[in-house]
């Protein structure tokens, strides 16, 4: 349905030098170009297309239906509304990633409400909204629920600001919902009552994920919902759902491709055991499995029947899992491509991964007890080595450990030279190679030298400027870099800013980088999405200098209690065409 007739003259870029609606130099009539463009989905491709010439810019803006905004403050709702007229799907990302770790004060911003107001006016046919690290209030959810009759998919990843009431509005008013996904958005006040608010004749749901919900759910209402949504293919429940309740849900939804279980701990009668086992065996299409809170050896075998086609197994919250039962379980999952585990499986468990998962491409090992720094549990360099030996296709790793050696990492990347994402977190800050007591420079040097495709890197351990020399020199495809408690001087950060041509996101904390380092990137920040620097040696003076030289950058300093006036303890720099934030709270200074 065409909400508005096409008006090529009203393109904002048609200033001055206008060719009018006919473009003699173009071999294609506009309609043909638009038809071709309607097949182009990727926003990166579309951005490239829009830069070719004005008529292509126009054709692109009329045909774009999916909007992706990586930083909600890089542009404004008004600018977006003027350029694009037929948007059906919006993805918006807000806060810097370190907000996930409580490093941003509450009420920092990234409230989606002004965007929703604009969408309601200009995109009444909006179908999808996907938010990441944004604040959405109940008011926003209500506006969403009432303004878009075609609305289908809501996905909230790492968001906050809402309560059960907002979700109730969504459930009650959106007749055509196919997706409700609150993923890892945890707020204290979100209960499960909204699941009971779907109308009795509502049956279009395909994706339902409330795994992070804290509260209880009315099981009967949930069961009724699941039983009438015959198209349901993704179901991820929260921990309050018991095993026998899960069985009843599975009976109604055997065609699931993704399942997140509830608590995997319950005393079962033999009959219940059998019923549940049968229910899992009937899930022949399962590709993704998660949940499994408190899974123990007794009940893991229930899952065996469902594992043949499993490609993604997320055991990261199954913190009672140990190596023996984990190894047995893995033997039933020959097709695993992606595995997330808790470090309670230890090196022995990872050895089993190396032996049983030859197709593995992604591994994430999360610490079950990240704050107890005085014990030596969890995984070590040995587990990582074992996986690298058995899984040559490994290209994505997130690894939390308490000790590592340079030699191990050198071997690991030799075994797996295809790393695109290498995120190593040695949990004690500034910890050296535990065998040689040397810095971990050579480890990360090996990563960037041996893995030409490296796109994302998180470094840790004791690191000198050497590490950054290596990264700047060798990591030509690097897009995202996370640095903590590392480096010796400004020179380290300068190496990064002068190298790494494709760098887009840089986040730094607790490093000895000062104003000189900050300013060394002045040419580069406009080509990046953002820079975060906290607890470094940057001063207000340096930030002001950067702000003065770069009108298209927003240089923001977050002021907190204590600390002296001259220091800039939390700095967030990002490119923007929207100018300084209008909604900045008092503790955010835009320079």
């Amino acid at each position: 349905m065409d909400p508005e007739p096409k008006k090529p003259e009203d393109s904002p870029s048609n200033s001055g030098n206008s060719h009018g609606p006919v473009h003699p130099q173009s071999p294609f009539p506009d309609e043909a170009l638009e038809k071709v463009l309607s097949f182009v989905d990727s926003h990166k491709d579309r951005s490239s297309i829009s830069l070719v010439r004005k008529d292509w810019y126009n054709a692109e803006r009329w045909t774009r239906s999916k909007l992706f905004i990586g930083n909600c403050y890089a542009v404004s709702p008004e600018i977006v509304a003027k350029r694009f007229r037929r948007i059906k799907s919006v993805t918006l990302k807000g806060k810097p990633r370190f907000s996930d770790f409580n490093m941003l004060p509450l009420d920092w911003g990234a409230d989606v409400y002004p965007w929703l107001v604009m969408f309601a006016k200009v995109y009444p046919f909006l179908e999808e909204l996907r938010l990441k690290r944004m604040t959405i209030t109940d008011e926003g959810l209500e506006l969403l629920a009432k303004s878009f009759p075609c609305f289908k998919a809501l996905s909230l990843s790492s968001c906050d600001g809402f309560t059960e009431n907002g979700l109730k509005a969504i459930a009650s008013h959106c007749r055509n919902l196919t997706e409700v996904n609150i993923q890892d958005s945890i707020t204290e006040d979100v209960g499960g009552g909204w699941l009971s608010c779907f109308p009795e004749n509502f049956s279009s749901l395909e994706i339902l994920n409330f795994s992070s919900l804290n509260g209880d759910v009315n099981f009967d209402d949930l069961e009724r919902l699941v039983s009438r949504c015959k198209l349901l293919r993704v179901l991820k429940v929260n921990e309050s759902i018991t095993l026998d309740e899960l069985q009843r849900l599975l009976v109604h939804a055997p065609r699931l491709t993704e399942l997140g279980t509830g608590s995997f701990l319950q005393e079962l009668t033999p009959r219940q055991y059998e019923e549940i086992e049968t229910a899992f065996c009937n899930c022949r299409n399962l590709q993704v499995l998660s949940g499994l809170w408190e899974a123990t050896s007794v009940y893991l075998p229930l899952l065996y029947g469902a594992c043949a086609s499993l490609t993604f197994l997320n055991l990261s919250v199954a913190t009672t899992l140990q190596s023996g039962e984990f190894a047995k379980f893995l033997a039933h999952c020959p097709n695993l491509r992606c595995l997330w585990v808790s470090d309670t499986v230890e090196d022995k468990g990872l050895e089993a991964v190396g032996l049983s998962c030859p197709l593995l491409e992604e591994l994430r090992v999360y610490p079950a007890d990240p704050y107890d720094r005085d014990h030596l549990d969890g995984v070590t360099e040995l587990g990582f080595l074992a996986v690298s030996r058995g899984c040559p296709k490994l290209h994505y790793v997130l690894y939390f450990c308490r000790r590592m050696t340079n030699a191990a990492v050198v071997t690991i990347v030799q075994n797996c030279p295809n790393f695109t994402h290498f995120r190593l977190c040695i949990m004690t800050p500034s910890q050296p190679d535990y065998l040689t007591n040397e810095p971990m420079d050579e480890a990360f040097g090996a990563v960037v030298k041996t893995c030409p495709k490296i796109k994302r890197l998180s470094v840790s351990g004791l690191l000198t400027d050497r590490t950054f020399e290596y990264i700047g020199k060798y990591a030509k495809d690097l897009e995202t870099l996370s640095v903590a408690f590392a480096g010796s001087s400004d020179w380290g950060m300068q190496c990064i800013m002068e190298g790494c041509p494709k760098l887009r996101k840089l986040e730094i904390r607790d490093c000895p980088f000062g104003d000189a380092a900050l300013l060394s990137g002045r040419e580069k920040y406009e080509m990046m999405r953002s820079l975060w620097m906290s607890a470094c040696s940057v001063t207000m003076k340096g930030c002001r200098l950067l702000a003065r030289e770069s009108p298209r950058l927003n240089v923001e300093v977050i002021r907190e209690e204590g600390g002296n006036e001259a220091q800039a303890l939390k700095v967030y720099v990002y490119r923007s065409v929207a100018g300084p934030r209008q909604d900045a709270p008092p503790f955010v200074l835009t320079l």
Binding site: G193, D216, T296, V298, Q431
Partner: protein
């Protein structure tokens, strides 16, 4: 060396009021708790630390390091601010460390009196046992070149908060039966696990009013595991008779511990009953032998022994 005087700290026959807290109200609650249960004087039930056979002045008797009991002091590894906040709380991992070290290597070591009324604050205790602390620091130093302050660094390690909470799962106030709105129920369900048992149990703390009651209930609940009714019970390894089990539970081959609101593992019996039910999130019965020999390890490692 004379045999240490064993003390049944699980409290099967008497309550174990805490006197470590400097909070007067809890001491008073402790006293009234004892009275309610009509058992002996507080002094007899005081827990104290010391070398086996040693005795503090003005004390009738006390507990040395009994078989399988780890009694520790929150000296090591917990950051200072946390210690101060929690008063005289004792972390379980430190209990294990402490027990191990005292048992093995102390040289006429000092005796720490935790049981006195009014409490001894932790930093004071710390000063009394410097040799242990140094030893601990040495062990930690090799792996730990962190900044001098042992306070937790904000946002490090970079873990999302929902992952942090997986170790301490449901709140005690959560209604066990799904289907309610989940607010304001009168149940206090906590999970109870036992090393070697293939599954956990859930009990409602509100149905008990003393440590005695909860201990006997737990005995009954878990006796089936050690008598080989369930596959991976201890009986699979060693045939244990029922009477032997009673000995095990009574005779402190098992250590009953709980995880409190702050995520610390504590020995059951230290605090007054009400304080315990308020702060207990889950219980674990672990093998005392595992506890002693595993310094410096924690609950996680003990689990994986089986």
């Amino acid at each position: 060396m004379s045999m240490p005087q064993e003390h049944d700290y699980i409290g099967l026959s008497e309550p174990l009021p805490s006197e470590k807290s400097s909070d007067k109200t809890t001491a008073a609650a402790a006293a009234s708790n004892v009275e309610r249960n009509g058992v002996f004087s507080l002094k007899e039930t005081e827990l104290r630390l010391g070398l086996p056979g040693s005795e503090a002045p003005e004390r009738k008797g006390g507990v040395g390091i009994g078989i399988g009991i780890g009694i520790g002091v929150s000296l090591f590894g917990k950051d200072e601010s946390k210690c101060v906040k929690s008063g005289a709380k004792r972390g379980f991992s430190d209990a294990i460390n402490g027990a191990g070290k005292w048992g093995l290597s102390i040289n006429g070591g000092s005796e720490v009196d935790l049981g006195q009324k009014g409490g001894v604050n932790v930093s004071a205790v710390k000063r009394e046992i410097p040799p242990l602390e140094e030893r601990k620091n040495e062990a930690a130093a090799a792996a730990n070149t962190a900044p001098a302050s042992k306070a937790q660094v904000v946002g490090w390690p970079p873990i999302r908060s929902f992952r942090k909470n997986t170790l301490a799962t449901n709140t005690p106030k959560k209604d066990d039966v799904g289907g309610n709105s989940g607010t304001g129920t009168s149940c206090l369900y906590v999970k109870v696990s036992m090393d070697g048992a293939p599954y956990l149990r859930k009990i409602d703390l509100k149905t008990y009013c003393s440590y005695t009651e909860i201990s006997s209930a737990l005995e009954k609940m878990f006796s089936c595991f050690t008598i080989g009714q369930c596959g991976q019970g201890l009986a699979a390894k060693e045939n244990i008779s029922e009477s032997h089990l009673m000995d095990l539970l009574h005779g402190s081959e098992y250590v009953l511990t709980y995880e409190d609101k702050d995520g610390d593992w504590m020995l059951v019996g230290d605090v007054p009953w009400e304080m315990f039910t308020d702060s207990c999130r889950r219980l674990r019965i672990m093998k005392g032998s595992d506890a002693i020999g595993l310094a410096p390890r924690t609950m996680q490692k003990c689990k994986s022994q089986n």
